[in-house]
Amino acid sequence: MVLIAVLATRPSSEAVQARSPLLGKSAPDVVATDMDGHQVTLKSLRGRFLLVNFFASWCVPCQHEHPQLAAFNQHHQAAGDASVLGVVFEDDAASVRRFVAEQGVNWPMVQDPKGKIALDFGVRGPPESFLIDPNGVVLVKFIGEVKATQLDALVRQAEQARA
């Protein structure tokens, strides 16, 4: 009973900000193709905050995280101050397309068939996310499920620091 009570009252899992040698440095350049075959580069997405999210359709925390990413993307899409870039981590294109069709994904999602992007970012397993500022500098690394409120607060904080 005590265990059930503890588990029931626990706060929901939230991404932890992790240490990374990339913090404070320019993000590795990404040149990849999205699910429709269009080329996407990280440089082309500069000028606003960007959340690079490593994801897989087989990853349950990634499925839980998806609505939060959708909320964050929707909230900032109108303002044009932040966006999301998904990177497929060790997953096949068919499963990802099915996930996109079922869940609805409004942000570009690039493939990483050889794991080069994950290697450049030092990713160990999904979900992992990196918040990058408009100049392309890595601000935060998250391990686990991010929350829209958590991301909003960090973006606000970074904007105030820049002002």
């Binding site: 040698p21 050889k114 030092g122």
Partner: protein, 200 residues
């Protein structure tokens, strides 16, 4: 000739070399003269042979060790192939998505990516250290299975050496103390006793 075989009243014979040797060979009340007597009487050639018999196994051991080291060093000095070098470096890097496996051992896609990255950097002419540093710049130093030789991680290498040096120093001090206790010199009284026993 022994004293018991001599007729009664006969004058004592002067001691011969055989008698001296026989006397030395019989057990004596004090150990020191008995031990030194044969060495003192042995011819120089026999003493040299005995010394060789002691040192020969050590000399053979040294020759074998040096030979093995020379052969081993000679084999390692050859030019290493690219594949072998990639495997060697990958074996010192942790597979990012596995537990307890190196990037050389794992079939995971991230391990393949690490091997490919190492291969690309080897082709570019980067040193082992540069390649390891590049991977540590992405994942952090814990991606390396062998600790680095600088900073706090250097303690991993330094502490065992310090421990061995301290242990050797302790052993040396202990041996010195023990040998000083056992190396008691014979007193004048001991020498008189030994001389008396030898004259009998």
């Amino acid at each position: 000739m022994s004293d018991s075989s001599r007729p009664a009243g006969a004058a004592p014979e002067p001691p011969t070399a055989e008698a001296a040797t026989a006397r030395a060979a019989t057990p004596q009340p004090t150990a020191a003269p008995a031990a030194t007597a044969p060495a003192a009487t042995a011819p120089p050639g026999a003493r040299g042979r005995r010394r060789w018999r002691v040192w020969l196994p050590w000399a053979v051991l040294v020759v074998v060790l040096v030979g093995a080291l020379v052969i081993g060093a000679g084999r390692g000095g050859g030019k290493e192939s690219v594949d072998h070098r990639v495997q060697r470096i990958a074996s010192e890097v942790r597979c990012p998505t596995c537990r307890g496996l190196s990037a050389a051992e794992s079939d995971a896609k991230t391990a393949e990516a690490v091997r490919e990255e190492i291969g690309t950097r080897v082709q570019q002419g980067q040193s082992d250290g540069q390649i390891r540093a590049a991977l540590a710049d992405r994942y952090g130093a814990d991606i390396l299975l062998r600790p680095q030789g600088s900073g706090v991680a250097a303690l991993v290498w330094a502490l065992p050496v310090v421990a061995v040096v301290l242990a050797l120093a302790g052993l040396t001090m202990a041996f010195r103390r023990w040998s000083s206790v056992t190396r008691a010199k014979p007193s004048d009284e001991d020498r008189v006793l030994v001389d008396r026993a030898l004259r009998r």
